[in-house]
Symmetry: C2
Subunit: 308 residues, 2 copies
């Protein structure tokens, strides 16, 4: 992959404490930028912009090394502690209940990008404070920019969020958040309304129900991969975004990205999310093989295909 | 269409009182057998087994006449009152809250089938007491039999329901009911478990999230049609079943129904349900044109297709 295909992500790297009906994991590697970059690294060269404390050990760093993720823009704060999140899931596994958040080094995060990072043609703004997302967006001469967000910012920083949404090409958001952002209970109308806020496209992530993709003149939808065991949903949305953006970056379109590429990107996003939830943290993705991705992509085709 | 393609349905014909966030309708034509037969009548010859009171007027009968639905096995009870159901939907439109049920003539329903009806090659057992479903199933030498049910029977008549499920080819059921029947929170495992109870196939109806189709060695899934306005979900599941069974009956397979036919049947079911919810009662289906069905079927192909 050349610099023409490189993908930059800004977001959190965290230690998670996760409780699901199937088990408990303490100090689990997490954070949106970490899940995203591990996922995207199967498709293209990825560089991560984030902040960590000095409790982030050499052993923790191994995840970036083994996936060949560029950490030139990963700031380490001496004496600081890495961002921590504690959450819990019930049997439906669709909604995370936050038990505790400790921003730690993230409270003062002021992303500074290297000259190379500023030249990245593809940029993903993972879920962080929308003002910070815009600050990074303005530093990067990207060809294609996507972002995620969450209910916390929709409710608490709406105006700032709208300003950020206005300067990206794609918004990736979950079902309930799309309805909340648009203040509209029907998802299709919600998506149409969000498209008037600036982005050219919206990907609505619907968990076990799949994903829907909206552009001003098009619509695409896919069911989710039929998993018999969903172990830990943490990072599913970020892995989805990693597959989506990673595939788009690999395609390297210099003009408007064509509809075929975008549809395949939605499927690759779905594929990566489906692997992510099979185990705690990014454990499953760390031992994933490229052939497994291709195999599951073909299965998506097989179980959604019908003849006219 | 010849007798080789004819489809028999047993179930309720009712007057509904429906309240949605978008309006109120009193004495609306409803009942599972009515919604099913109107939908299926676009595909094949349909005959309905049900019971009505003498409050079911000539004007009400018009729905059967205009759709050329055979009412030879529609019993009219002199002095009786037609089944009545009153229900309400909130903004999410996914769950009906029953306000009132008056069984009336349905309380004594004892389906008697004409000799012709007993020869029907295709049979649908709409949602009624599972013992009655089995009674009808035993009277009909059908080639292919499908059924629906609901939480009320899963909770209150489980053993009888399991006996009925054991003697059908296909179970059509909604998402929550599939999980409840299998006592399993993961839908895929729930479906696999139900397949051990007798049926060769299960269609899981997921409302705005689409439908999933399971056989012992296969899986197919489709998102729902992207509707900007869902007006009244009453009868959506029955319209789905009507499209699914109507298309299968029209195909007239004499042996095992092939996978391509079954997948298209799931899509036709989804198409018919999507029209049904656009207006109160079966108003939309009563003025539906065959070309509109084909057009929406093609749209399903368009918005789910991607290139490998």
């Amino acid at each position: 992959m050349s610099a023409e295909n490189s993908l930059l992500v800004v977001g959190s790297v965290a230690f998670d404490s996760i409780r699901t009906p199937f088990g408990v994991r303490e100090r689990s590697l997490g954070g949106a930028a970490l899940h995203f970059s591990v996922s995207a690294s199967f498709f293209t060269d990825v560089s991560v912009v984030a902040v960590i404390g000095d409790d982030f050990t050499e052993d923790d760093h191994q995840v970036f090394r083994e996936r060949k993720i560029n950490t030139e823009n990963l700031q380490r704060i001496p004496g600081g502690k890495t961002f921590r999140w504690a959450g819990e899931y019930g049997y439906d596994l669709n909604t995370a209940h936050t038990l505790d958040t400790q921003l730690n080094v993230f409270a003062e995060f002021n992303p500074q990008l290297s000259a190379a990072a500023q030249q990245s043609p593809y940029l993903f703004l993972a879920n962080i404070q929308p003002g910070l997302q815009r600050l990074v967006r303005e530093q990067v001469k990207a060809r294609f920019v996507a972002m995620d967000t969450m209910n916390f910012w929709i409710e608490g920083a709406r105006e700032e969020l709208l300003q950020t949404i206005a300067v990206v090409d794609a918004l990736l958001i979950n079902d309930a958040e799309a309805r909340e952002l648009a203040q509209e209970s029907n998802l299709i109308r919600a998506a149409r309304k969000i498209l008037t806020m600036g982005p050219q496209m919206i990907v609505v992530k619907r968990g076990e129900y799949g994903a829907s993709f909206f552009t001003r003149d098009g619509f695409f939808a896919t069911p989710a991969f039929p998993l018999e065991s969903v172990f830990d949903p943490t990072g599913a949305g970020d892995s989805f975004a990693g597959g989506f953006m990673g595939y788009i970056a690999r395609s390297g379109s210099t003009g408007k990205i064509d509809d075929h590429t975008l549809r395949r990107a939605v499927i690759y996003g779905s594929v990566m999310a489906s692997f992510n939830v099979e185990e705690f943290s990014c454990d499953r993705l760390r031992r994933l093989q490229a052939e497994e991705i291709q195999d599951r992509f073909r299965q998506f085709k097989e179980f959604t295909h019908f003849e006219v």
